[in-house]
């Protein structure tokens, strides 16, 4: 969980002195994120891996105002049988992607993953407005997200996903309500919709 730092970790950092954790600027324009290519708009900052322990290898988190307020997460190439996000908790029961998933199942996979991401029992997540979307030559989907989280502002979100070569490519944006979702939704959506496989030709969409 990105922003759930343990007290012990926090105190360890305190004890060890200051550690500059480097967010890096995302240059606008075509950007490669593992096997995916997206068109980054301006103003995004990429989080250092150390502050995103639940992310899969190759996945990135971008933000304008800090992850507590807005976050764009790109998860390229989740393999069959793998979860969208990792959990060190053995009893987490993270839902797993299956290569023959249809749009409704991808939506459910994401909803359940968000619940675990915010903390099981800490969040109620709903999804809606499932709709088809093309990502380059691949047919995929988009849908919207609403999350009510305890001790936190609400979050609204937009997600885009497609399956190619038996792998799931997922891009989603979450913004705090009020204000932060609205502030960045348009630009985040354009980044999501610009996603496509790198390397030109791709196999036909499987759904």
């Amino acid at each position: 969980m990105i922003y759930r730092m343990s007290s012990l970790v926090a105190l360890a950092v305190l004890a060890s002195g200051c550690v500059a954790t480097n967010y890096t600027l995302v240059e606008p324009g075509a950007r490669a994120v593992a096997g995916l290519q997206v068109n980054a708009t301006s103003g995004w900052n990429q989080a250092p891996p150390m502050s995103t322990p639940s992310m899969q290898k190759g996945a990135v988190l971008w933000t304008h105002d800090g992850p507590l307020l807005d976050q764009l997460i790109i998860i390229p190439g989740v393999a069959d049988g793998e979860p969208l996000m990792k959990s060190s908790n053995k009893s987490a029961a993270m839902p797993l992607f299956k290569k023959d998933m249809l749009p409704n199942e991808i939506e459910e996979l994401t909803e359940s993953t968000f619940v675990k991401y915010f903390g099981e029992g800490n969040a109620v997540v709903t999804t809606k407005n499932l709709r088809p979307q093309r990502f380059g030559e691949n047919r995929g989907v988009m849908f919207d997200v609403d999350a009510t989280v305890s001790d936190s502002p609400k979050y609204r979100g937009t997600a885009g996903a497609f399956v190619a070569n038996d792998k799931l490519y997922m891009m989603f944006f979450l913004g705090a309500v009020p204000h932060y979702f609205d502030k960045h939704a348009a630009t985040a959506t354009s980044v999501i919709q610009s996603a496509m496989l790198t390397g030109g030709s791709s196999t036909a969409a499987t759904n």
Binding site: M5, A10, Y23, H64, D65, L69, G119, E120, Y180
Partner: protein
Amino acid sequence: MNVPRFFRLPTLSILIALLSGCVMSSNVQQIDRLESVGENPRIVMMPPDVKYYLLTASGVPEPNVEWTTAARENFHVAMTDYAASIGTELEFISQDNLSENEIRYESLHSAVGSSLLNHHFGMMKLPSKNGKFDWSLGPEIASIGENYDADYALFVYYRDYQASGGRVALAVLAAAVGGAVATGSEHGFASLVDLKTGDIVWFNVVNAGAGELRNKDGAATAVRALFKDIPTARGSGEQQ
């Protein structure tokens, strides 16, 4: 049964404590003076989050009623005097009277405050900001301004952990074996929000030595420290 909520978002206390070692700057001032359509700028004071604890040898912070009550009462008085001295009118809202909308903004402000502490004052800078301070609660907060006929909203957070004798002894022991035990501290922040735009126009982080809220003079000092360089109705250069 349930996953223990032991490991959660670091509280603001921890963030501010972290900053005490790593802070570059602790104050941001966006505007020179307070503006208002009315005669005096009106500020609505969100329920101040002020708490006093006795930090016992065991490390369990005991919320202390007498101190917290005194602290809050003195804070109230000191704030009222201070607001007048900078030419503003201050209206206090109590937690019980918050509307759902106001609760939403309280929650958002905590998230924005934490983000500020991490990304502006702290080490996790966001390069695209380029040092710019442009965190806002958004213009829809104007509804609060209308509700209270106010120009600005003030948020205050303050924690004071007073070490007991036993705690100090433990600290000495711990130091002897190379460990470290925090002996007590006070810290807090104050932030001023323009209710027309939602922009945070002034933000101040306070660490040790801020003052003693439990007595009247100490409270006045603490309030001045908390509100260091806050824009006044008359503009900078005419501070208290």
